[in-house]
Symmetry: D5
Subunit: 116 residues, 10 copies
């Protein structure tokens, strides 16, 4: 199950500089709530750290939590944004989910977050 | 035949956030009204949902409606925009049709819609 | 509907030489007999002409005949082989159908024909 | 769980001709029995049908059965071969599993089956 | 010979919307006025129709008119722009000619037109 | 017009060794005898020289001779073989013509020649 | 060990012109401070020289200094920026580190520097 | 040796229109002044002609002049800009030199010129 | 340092079937014994297991042992073959080392082993 | 000038095993004896060492000797084979020269050598 408490952070090693981190997880999978069949996709997370950086191993385990979760694409990407941005509190974050074809049709969802 | 009443929507799961959905259907086909031969192409739909999201299965069936329809490229892409934007009422929508070569010549058509 | 009588041939311009012709049609479409949804694929035809060559325009129209035909992949490729080989009577013919993904799974079928 | 009884077949539509079917499932996932982390890969199945062809939907569900199964690459590919070849009884079958990188290292496993 | 009177147009099916049409002809050929050897290239035409759209078949025949014409790259692309823009009277038009290597050197020419 | 007398040769610089020369001309064009429209393609010539090698500049001009010739694909490739092999008298020669799509369909023709 | 004193510069040959130099080192390697396993990546350095240009051989040796250094991605890229920008004193510098996948997840870090 | 007097121009065929010419020479070679070993690269020249266009054959011979010249990347690209821009007097010119890897490291240099 | 005793094996899960395992490590690095500079490459190991399979984690650590080893390409690949084949005792093994360019030149080494 | 005495060898580190070395030099250049313009190409050398391996640095300098040599493609590749095979005395050697396009036409030459 999806649990945002799994997410860990570490102190930004260079908080004075505005810089960008890009993390790509091409092995995301969840379950379609309509058909019960698995969905597959790539999750891209691009952010500018403020005081914290997301720890990669905990992020991987957090994303594995969707493996047996029934969830639509639009909701999944928005939820990942809500969870990670509330823990990392970045200056800026963008998350793109690119999902593999279903019925010949490919879908992707892109959300952005602007910190104060 | 093409019927916009086939299109279904579901409630935007995150209406407060401005985000983007991209849907790609590489298996679009219609018929050339001049020669009667089939045309083939890819339809890309990029939009920012307001209150509604387009349901993918109904979109697929709506686009299948062009299969035996005689229609020019320019009219087809504009009509797809008219039909989907009137049902989904997005903040923004862009549709690109990329058609395969005829007589060695490749054509694509790009239209945009700006909601109020 | 599929009609092998549409297929036309012309006289092999160089019958003394053993040579190979390869024809690729990436715009093949038929209908799944189970779901009623359209299938898409590429048909590759490789043959060594004996006395006759297949005429390209008639081949294109013959393959268009599958557009609204409900037929499985395995049967479609075998039927295309039966129809074309009986009309062209080549020394050798190989036909490969490469179909686009359904349920994430891609399928192709390859058949061969050896003339006397 | 993995259950070979899920696999269905249909009658070979052209049993007199020796031909080849290639099925590619790029969305295979299982679980590493050592670490508990998910593994991802592509399964390619190439076979020459004798009296039966494998039904694609049942094959998809059969392969989904590995989703929460702890199993090594070498055993998984050999087991898929044992299960499918015993149900389909083909003239020839080859299965290749291509797995994504772990610790920077990519692995694939290829097995073959020769019917009587 | 090059004759702009060959170019035909049809009425823009959606004159209220500002949209873009992209036409790519990868089979352009003319003759080098210096050496007499043939030149080869791709012509890309991107435009926003006002009241008229260019008819594709007539465009193809118009471009074939350069086949035995001795003309430099810079002049050819500017002339294609003069001819098509005067007939189609678009809101905006961009034409790019990408020519194949001569003496190891590749050249392309890009011109733009802004309607009133 | 096509004239095999244009073809020149030079003495094989290493007649004792059996080796291979591959020449690729991606700028071949002729005219369809049915429609009068230009055809485009790539000509690949692979040969093992005996006493003579084909001179490249004369080969280029020979192939340019097809520019305004109405000829079918099958006949063109066979004629190129007849002309070049009779002038160069190689140990072995293979010629492949790969032509661009017409009506969505791509064709290629491959012929071989075995010297005494 | 990492030593910024290794870095050498040479006089900018064209100090009046604002121009850009891009250096790509695809053979960067360091050690993960957590697991002790080696990390691999590509370092891209894009800068506008003021009075000095970085000497390539010394840059190569400087970057080799990370080979047995235990350091996180975010810190490594920020440190490379601190070291090179303090020695070269450019008008502008951007450094991107693109690291290979670990646990299926790919990471890159992008930092910028604006000189006075 | 490098001689800018080799460069020839011809009259811009369309001086009223602002347009762009892009010339790519992938066969540039010079000599490293440090090691004496040859360097290889691609030179891209993008410009907007004012009254003159650069003649391609003379440009090719001008660039061949660097073949046995010992010169650093940064100086070479700046010198090519100085020479060509002073002869062609364009509205705008950009030159990029992309050099092949040395010691695993790839370098490119980009300079721009703004005419009055 | 390189230590073949690090290599571990596990029992072949399907010893009756002749099958192939392919392992690709794109992150191989060693040191040039002449210059002291690091070398980079990809190691491909293809084998048919007899009674044992090589354990991946131990293989990864074994290959990491070359990180600070001064060794020529030809010797490295032959040594990897000697070490792994003596531990795994396969029916057949092929190892290819593909190394990145040095002085513009790329090298690869391929060795094979045939078990009794 | 081309001097085969520059070529150095070192002792084959594994003379008992039959293995293959592949060396690719993509930066080969010579001069066309007809036009005086430079030619560019890639030289691939594949061989099975007997008692000696070719030393890479000397090979690089040997190939640089062609830089200002006027020589035809067919002769150049045959001469490289004669020189290297006589110095290295391999079990087997194959050399392929792939040259860049001239007049739109690309040429490659492949020669083989079989040791006693």
């Amino acid at each position: 199950m999806v649990d945002k408490n799994i997410l860990e952070t570490f102190e930004n090693p260079c908080p004075k500089r505005d810089y960008e981190v890009l993390i790509v997880q091409p092995e995301f999978t969840s379950v379609c709530p309509k058909t019960g069949h698995p969905d597959f996709g790539t999750i891209e997370i691009r952010y500018h750290p403020k005081e914290k950086c997301v720890e990669l191993k905990s992020l991987k385990i957090y994303l594995q939590g969707y493996r047996n979760e029934g969830i639509f694409y639009e909701r999944a990407v928005n939820r990942i944004m809500d969870d990670i941005s509330s823990v990392v509190e970045p200056k800026f974050m963008e998350i793109i989910g690119r999902f593999t074809a279903r019925g010949g049709i490919t879908t992707s969802v892109k959300v952005q977050y602007q910190g104060e």
